[in-house]
C-alpha cells in the first residue's frame, strides 16, 4: 500500500437510516432525532462509538423548513440544529457547522471536512443530515400537538439559508416552487432541441425507469414495491397526477420520507491510531463545484453548464475519465438535473453502469438538502466491497443553481485542497440576454410551465420569452381567468406560437397572438 501523509483525510464511517409509518418500531422521530440516529450508526460503523470524543467537528445539512421563510413547519424546530444533534449523541465537539440550504451541500461538507483535516484544523468530523417530512405530515393528519422546538446557545457556524436562487420577477410571476422552475428549464431544453412533448416525455420515462429499478431493490428506498416501465412513469393516471408541465408525480423528487445519513471523516493518523482497517477507508480523489445565476439570467434556460464544468474538473482532479468510473450517483430531483449533467460529459441514460446507487430522489426518496448524504453513504459501502473501483457522486442544489461532484475510491491518494475558483471565474464570463422587466409587444417563447391543481386542472401558466423587437428576455404569467390561453398549453400547441405581452401593476401577462379559440 502506498504511503499517504498522516493528515490525509479518509472516510471511515457511513450509515443511513429510514423509518416508515408502517414499520413495527416506527418512532416518529423529529428531524433532529432522525439525523442523530444516522450519526450514531455512522460512529458505530467507524468503530468509534466508544471513542466519540475524538470528533471535534459536527456538520449538518439544513432541513427543508429552515431553508426558506415560507416553509416553516408546524411543530417547532431547533434554533441550533447541529448542537441539538450533538446533545442527542452526548457529544460536545469544539466546532459545529450548520450548512446553507441546497442539495449540493453534502458533497461540499465532505470536501470541507477533508480540507479541515488536511489543514490540521480537525482530526475527526461527523457529517450528517436528515428529514422527517413524512412523519410531519403523518402527525399533522393526526392533529398531533408534538413539540419539536429545542435550543442550544452553544457556538455554531450558521451559514443561513441561500435565498438568491430566484429573481424577484421570477417569484412574482408565479414560479414559487421547485417543480415550476424545473418545468421551465425542462421545457426550454425540449424546445431548444426541437422535440415534441410526447417524445420528450418518453425520453424522461426511459431516463428514470432504471432509477426506479435500483430503488425497487434497495431496502432503504421509499418506493420498493414496484419497478416502473418508462411508460408507467409518464402516463397520467391515479397515483401519477400531473404536478406541473412537464412533470407527472413519478418524475418528481419524493420528499415525503423520513431518512437520514451520516459519514465519519478522520485523519489517516487517527485512523491508524484507532486501528481502523485499511479496507474500510475511502479516499476523496477529486472534487469540484460551480454555480449559476438565477435561471432568467442564464444564457440558455435549458442549460446549466456549471454541472459539466464541475464534473469534468472533478474527473481531471482524480486523474480519470468517465470510463474509469464504476459507480455513479447523479442527483435526480427532476429529469433535467440528470440529462443536463450526463449530456455534458457524454454519458447516455442507458449506461450499463447505471446512474444511481440509491434509486434516486423520486424513488429512493428526496430528503431535502441531505439526499446526497445517502448517495455518499451508499457509495462508501459499495466501494468498500469493491476495492479499487471508483465512484462518482454528483450533487445538485437549488434550481440547477449549484453543482458539486466528488470521486471516491478505497485506493489511497494524496489529498490536495481545491476551491474551484477558476471554474467560477469561467462561469462569470458567460453573457445572457438583456432582461426586460416591463415588456410590451410581440415575443417568442423560450420556455413555459403550467401549474395544476390536485384535480389535474391547469391553474396558471408562466412563460419566459424574448421580445421580437429587442431580443430582450421577459417573464409573464396568466391565471385561471385566461382559460383559452391555458388551453393552448393543454393541447401542447404552445411551442411555435408567438405571444403578445403586456406589463401591469399585477405583473406581466400575455395572450397568444394567433389565439384562435377552439371552443
Amino acid at each position: 500500500m502506498p504511503f499517504v501523509a498522516a493528515n490525509t483525510p479518509v472516510i471511515v464511517g457511513a450509515s443511513q437510516f429510514t423509518e416508515r409509518i408502517n414499520d413495527p418500531d416506527y418512532a416518529m422521530l423529529s428531524p433532529v432525532a432522525i439525523t442523530a440516529r444516522a450519526a450514531e450508526l455512522a460512529l458505530a460503523d467507524a468503530g468509534m462509538a466508544d471513542c466519540r470524543a475524538h470528533i471535534d467537528t459536527l456538520m449538518t445539512t439544513r432541513i427543508f423548513e429552515d431553508s426558506a421563510p415560507h416553509l416553516e413547519g408546524p411543530f417547532g424546530r431547533s434554533n441550533n440544529f447541529p448542537r441539538s444533534v450533538c446533545q442527542r449523541l452526548g457529544m460536545t465537539p469544539e466546532t459545529a457547522i450548520w450548512a446553507t440550504s441546497g442539495g449540493d451541500t453534502p458533497q461540499k461538507l465532505v470536501t470541507e471536512a477533508c480540507d479541515r483535516i488536511w489543514q490540521g484544523d480537525s482530526k475527526a468530523v461527523l457529517v450528517s443530515g436528515g428529514e422527517a417530512l413524512s412523519t410531519t405530515r403523518f402527525l399533522q393528519k393526526q392533529g398531533s400537538d408534538v413539540d419539536w422546538s429545542e435550543g442550544s446557545n452553544e457556538s455554531v457556524v450558521d451559514r443561513k439559508p441561500t435565498l438568491d436562487y430566484a429573481t424577484h420577477d421570477e417569484l412574482m410571476h408565479g414560479l414559487v416552487s421547485p417543480p415550476l422552475f424545473y418545468g421551465i428549464m425542462e421545457n426550454a431544453r425540449r424546445i431548444a432541441a426541437g422535440v415534441d412533448v410526447k417524445t420528450w416525455a418518453d425520453q424522461m420515462g426511459a431516463l428514470f425507469a432504471p432509477f426506479a429499478a435500483v430503488a425497487s431493490k434497495n431496502p432503504l428506498a421509499a418506493q420498493r414495491d414496484r419497478a416502473f416501465s418508462p411508460a408507467d412513469l409518464v402516463t397520467i393516471e391515479t397515483g401519477n397526477r400531473r404536478v406541473v408541465d412537464a412533470y407527472p408525480q413519478r418524475l418528481v423528487a419524493r420528499d415525503q420520507v423520513n431518512q437520514s445519513a451520516a459519514l465519519v471523516v478522520i485523519s489517516t493518523a487517527l485512523a491508524d491510531e484507532l486501528n481502523i482497517p485499511t479496507e474500510n477507508r475511502v479516499y476523496l480523489h477529486g472534487q469540484a463545484t460551480a454555480g449559476e445565476l438565477p435561471i432568467t439570467l442564464r444564457p440558455e434556460l435549458g442549460q446549466a453548464p456549471s454541472a459539466g464544468l464541475a464534473l469534468r474538473r472533478a474527473l481531471e482532479r482524480a486523474n480519470c475519465n468517465t470510463d474509469d468510473i464504476s459507480y455513479f450517483d447523479f442527483y435526480s430531483c427532476f429529469p433535467i438535473a440528470v440529462s443536463n449533467a450526463i449530456d455534458a460529459i457524454g454519458l447516455s441514460g442507458d449506461d450499463p453502469r447505471g446512474l444511481t446507487v440509491t434509486g434516486g430522489l423520486p424513488f429512493f426518496g428526496g430528503p431535502g438538502n441531505s439526499y446526497s448524504m445517502h448517495a455518499l453513504a451508499e457509495m462508501v459501502t459499495c466501494l468498500r466491497v469493491n476495492p479499487g473501483k471508483f465512484g462518482l457522486v454528483a450533487a445538485n442544489g437549488g434550481l440547477l443553481s449549484k453543482y458539486a461532484a466528488g470521486i471516491y475510491a478505497t485506493t489511497p491518494a494524496a489529498y490536495e485542497p481545491y476551491d474551484s475558483a477558476d471554474l467560477q471565474e469561467e462561469m462569470s464570463k458567460q453573457t445572457a440576454p438583456d432582461f426586460e422587466k416591463n415588456p410590451s409587444g410581440e415575443g417568442r417563447l423560450e420556455a413555459y410551465t403550467v401549474a395544476y391543481d390536485r384535480d389535474g386542472q391547469p391553474k396558471a401558466a408562466t412563460i419566459v420569452g424574448r421580445l421580437l423587437a429587442s431580443d430582450a428576455r421577459f417573464i409573464a404569467k396568466v391565471g385561471r381567468d385566461a382559460p383559452t390561453v391555458l388551453d393552448v398549453f393543454s393541447r401542447d400547441e404552445a411551442d411555435d406560437r408567438s405571444v403578445m405581452v403586456t406589463p401591469s401593476e399585477l405583473g406581466n401577462s400575455f395572450i397568444f397572438c394567433d389565439a384562435v379559440t377552439h371552443e
Binding site: A68, P69, H70, L163, D164, M172, G507
Partner: protein, 254 residues
C-alpha cells in the same frame, strides 16, 4: 416605566403618550427616561414596526419643565439628548401626532419624528429667543433641513409660532386633520407602514436620513452598503411569493 409616559402596542404600532397634563406635557427627567425606555423597546422588539409620539389632554408638549430645571433637574439623557430622543432618533419610523402646542423643546421633539400629523389648530414654534435663550435641542439645526431657508430664519430669529396650515403648505408636516383626530390619522398612516416589509422600511428610513450627509460621489455606494441585505432577505422572497399567491405577506423582519 413611570406613568408620565404611557406606551401601548396594537397590531405592530406603538403609541407613546407624553402624560403630564397638569404641566402641558412639559418634559422633566422622569419623562425623558420614560421616552428613552420606550424608544429602546421600539427598536428591540420585533413585533413593533412603527411608533406614534403624542401628548395627552389635547396638547403635544410645551418643552422643558422650567420648574424642574430651576430646581437643578436636567431632562437630558446622556447620548440621547433632550427628552431622551432629540439626539438619537430610533431606527424604526416615528410619527408625531400633534394636538395643540408643540413649542420649544416640544417643537424639537416633533421635528425629530419622521412624519408629522397635526390638528388644524396646532401651533409650532421655538420662542426661546424671546427669553434670551436659544433652541438647542435640534430646532436650529433641523429647521433649515426641514423648511426653506428664509422661513427657518424667520422662526429662529422671531420666535413666532407657525400655525398648522402654514406648516402643511410648507411641507413641514404631512397632513392637517380636524382637532382631536391627530392620533387616529397617525394610526392610519402607521398601519400602512406596519403592513410593509419591516427590514425594507427600517433600512429605507436609514438611507433617507443618513444620505443628507453624503456627497454625490459616494451616495450610491453608501446606499448599496445599507440596502444590500434587503435584496437577499427572507422578506424580499416572501413579498414576491405573497404577490404571486395573491395573499398578505407574512413578514419575518429578516
Amino acid at each position: 416605566m413611570s406613568d408620565v409616559v404611557i406606551t401601548e402596542v396594537n397590531d405592530g404600532v406603538m403609541t407613546i403618550t407624553l402624560n403630564r397634563p397638569e404641566a402641558k406635557n412639559a418634559v422633566n427627567l422622569a419623562m425623558a427616561e420614560g421616552v428613552a425606555a420606550a424608544i429602546d423597546e421600539l427598536d428591540s422588539n420585533d413585533e413593533i414596526r412603527v411608533a406614534i409620539l403624542t401628548g395627552s389632554n389635547n396638547t403635544f408638549c410645551s418643552g422643558m419643565d422650567l420648574k424642574a430645571f430651576v430646581s437643578g433637574e436636567v431632562p437630558y439623557i446622556k447620548g440621547r439628548g433632550f427628552a431622551g430622543l432629540t439626539e438619537s432618533p430610533p431606527a424604526k419610523p416615528l410619527i408625531a401626532a400633534v394636538e395643540g402646542y408643540a413649542l420649544a423643546g416640544g417643537c424639537e421633539l416633533a421635528m425629530v419624528c419622521d412624519l408629522i400629523i397635526a390638528a388644524d389648530t396646532a401651533k409650532f414654534g421655538v420662542p426661546e429667543v424671546k427669553r434670551g435663550l436659544a433652541a438647542a435641542a435640534g430646532g436650529l439645526l433641523r429647521f433649515p433641513r426641514q423648511l426653506p431657508y428664509r422661513v427657518a430664519m424667520e422662526l429662529a430669529l422671531t420666535g413666532d409660532f407657525m400655525d398648522a396650515g402654514r406648516a402643511r403648505d410648507l411641507g413641514f408636516i404631512n397632513e392637517t386633520v380636524p382637532a382631536g383626530e391627530a392620533v387616529s390619522a397617525a394610526q392610519a398612516l402607521a398601519a400602512k407602514i406596519a403592513g410593509n416589509g419591516p427590514l425594507a422600511v427600517k433600512l429605507s428610513k436609514q438611507v433617507v436620513r443618513d444620505s443628507q450627509d453624503w456627497s454625490t460621489d459616494e451616495m450610491f455606494g453608501r446606499q448599496q452598503d445599507i440596502l444590500q441585505p434587503v435584496f437577499v432577505s427572507e422578506d424580499a422572497m416572501e413579498g414576491a411569493i405573497a404577490f404571486a399567491e395573491k395573499r398578505a405577506p407574512n413578514w419575518k423582519g429578516r
